[in-house]
């Protein structure tokens, strides 16, 4: 074997990446050739040294990479709830008060968005938004990261933001508002999978037939939240029992959803109950422009 041929193989031999036949022939050559043997020693010296010559990135690189790719989460206590919040640099992504612990919340997030979370302190503005939302106050759209949601989900979730605090609207009203009047069940699914309860007030959406309906955190919680926002839960319950879905004013000849602020101003003696929007229209009542009750008569 020639020296040159040997030298092109000694590096592969150093790491056992060579077949045994070549190795034996090279070993033989090295026994007789001090120059090549010296090269082996030098090569091993260089190999041992080379790793210490690596350049290291700035300390912030990993943090920058992770925060640009992964969403973050944090939790805090608020009025007896442990609130879990996932957020990206673009805003809130998920809010949960039912997660058992960190890994449960991460698992819920993974199921919902197929993405991994990393623990990071929640930015002050994110936290303030969630706190305000849990008091029933409106949250700016710019605080919310809607990425990963379908267009329909986005439509539905931004529409329910328009339901005022203290009021409720039926699923059918939401379906009409997003111009998909038949998609009542689909609206229900969006509500059930709402990644940001409170922030996007799915608790203000109820069945047309009355009652509060389903809620991610149970119907009792839904009642409690609605009551705390000033919704007339008891009135809605008793009207539902009587089959009354709308209330009109005998003086203005305008009809409303019972929880509409305008409906609640109608004096007892002027109050006219309706079982349907058609019924109201037949009796010469106009739909309220504020709560738009006609959109619920699917």
């Amino acid at each position: 074997m020639q020296c040159r041929n040997v030298l092109t193989h000694i590096d592969a031999m150093r790491t056992d990446e060579i077949d045994s036949q070549d190795r034996d022939r090279i070993r033989q050559h090295l026994d007789d050739c001090p120059s090549c043997e010296e090269s082996v020693t030098d090569l091993e010296g260089f190999a041992a040294l080379a790793r210490s010559l690596r350049h290291s990135p700035s300390e912030s690189l990993a943090e920058r990479v992770c925060s640009s790719v992964l969403d973050s989460y944090d939790s805090f206590d608020l009025d007896g709830d442990r609130v879990w919040v996932a957020f990206s640099s673009a805003g809130l992504r998920m809010v949960d008060i039912a997660a058992a612990d960190e890994s449960d919340f991460r698992e819920r997030y993974r199921k919902r968005f197929g993405r991994e979370l990393r623990r990071a302190p929640i930015p002050e503005n994110c936290r303030k938004s969630v706190e305000a939302a849990m008091l029933g106050l409106p949250i700016g759209l710019d605080a919310i990261d809607f990425s990963g949601l379908t267009e329909f989900e986005r439509d539905v979730l931004t529409t329910i933001r328009k339901i005022p605090r203290g009021e409720v609207r039926p699923y059918a009203w939401v379906a009409r508002a997003v111009r998909r009047p038949r998609a009542i069940r689909a609206v229900g699914n969006v509500m059930a999978n709402n990644p940001m309860p409170f922030v996007l007030p799915c608790h203000r959406v109820v069945p047309s037939s009355g009652g509060v309906g389903n809620y991610a955190f149970g119907p009792d919680r839904k009642r409690r939240v609605l009551r705390s926002e000033g919704a007339p839960i008891e009135l809605l319950d008793s009207l539902a029992r009587e089959g009354v879905r709308f209330v009109g004013s005998a003086t203005t000849r305008i009809y409303c959803f019972p929880s509409c602020r305008d409906a609640r101003r109608i004096r007892e003696e002027n109050r006219v109950p309706f079982r349907s929007a058609e019924d109201a229209a037949r009796k010469g009542f106009r739909a309220c422009l504020r709560c738009m009750p006609e959109t619920a008569s699917a």
Binding site: A12, E44, A47, L53, R54, H55, A62, L70
Partner: protein, 208 residues
């Protein structure tokens, strides 16, 4: 010295697990991936581009692309078959090459045939502890590496700093293993030549 070598198959199974964990969005998986490879990829990109700022951007971009591929583009089978380390290096390599084009450098140029007719020692006889202590010698080696042609410098980095196997380097650069052996050899000879040239220059400067 063989015992210090960390390349080859030892980490392969572990890397496959890691790629799969990222694919399944397992807790902390991507952060572990970044922690494991950030220095390697940065060193590689910085040696290719010789610009820390550009290298940081390349590495960040490479991780973002890798994450996207592992979580959104590849199915489980493809992830399981992936050789994670050379795959990551290849992403960083392509991004570096793209960036380089603007600078009018070309890593794809074939290694210029280098042969001074001697077969002599591949690297200067420098003791391992000696060079670490002797800052000047270390700086000389650093300068010699910097002065190498792009392709020779790349192989020195992949083979000796990042301790990749010939198989892994082949996957990263798209060259055959047998061609790589010759190229590594020539790269080492170029390095040695660069070192002796540097020595000669510093002697002149000090009027010896």
């Amino acid at each position: 010295m063989r015992s210090t070598w960390t390349g080859g198959t030892a980490l392969t199974a572990d890397s496959e697990q890691l790629a799969l964990a990222v694919h399944e969005s397992r807790d902390g998986a991507f952060e572990r991936l970044v922690a494991r490879f950030e220095t390697s990829l940065f060193n590689y990109a910085n040696r290719l581009l010789q610009s820390p700022l550009d290298a940081q951007e390349v590495v960040q971009d490479a991780f973002v692309r890798a994450h996207h591929a592992l979580t959104s583009q590849y199915d489980g089978r493809r992830v399981r078959e992936l050789a994670l380390k050379p795959w990551l290096f290849r992403i960083a390599r392509n991004l570096s090459l793209n960036r380089r084009r603007g600078h009018n450098h070309d890593l794809e140029r074939p290694l210029s045939e280098f042969d001074d007719g001697r077969i002599g020692p591949l690297v200067p006889a420098i003791s391992v502890t000696g060079i670490v202590e002797a800052r000047e010698e270390r700086d000389a080696l650093e300068r010699a590496i910097e002065s190498l042609p792009d392709d020779a410098r790349e192989l020195i980095v992949l083979r000796f700093m990042e301790e990749m196997s010939y198989q892994e380097i082949a996957k990263c650069t798209g060259q055959t293993e047998s061609a790589l052996r010759g190229r590594v050899f020539r790269s080492l000879k170029l390095l040695r030549a660069a070192l002796s040239e540097g020595e000669a220059q510093s002697c002149n400067a000090e009027t010896c």
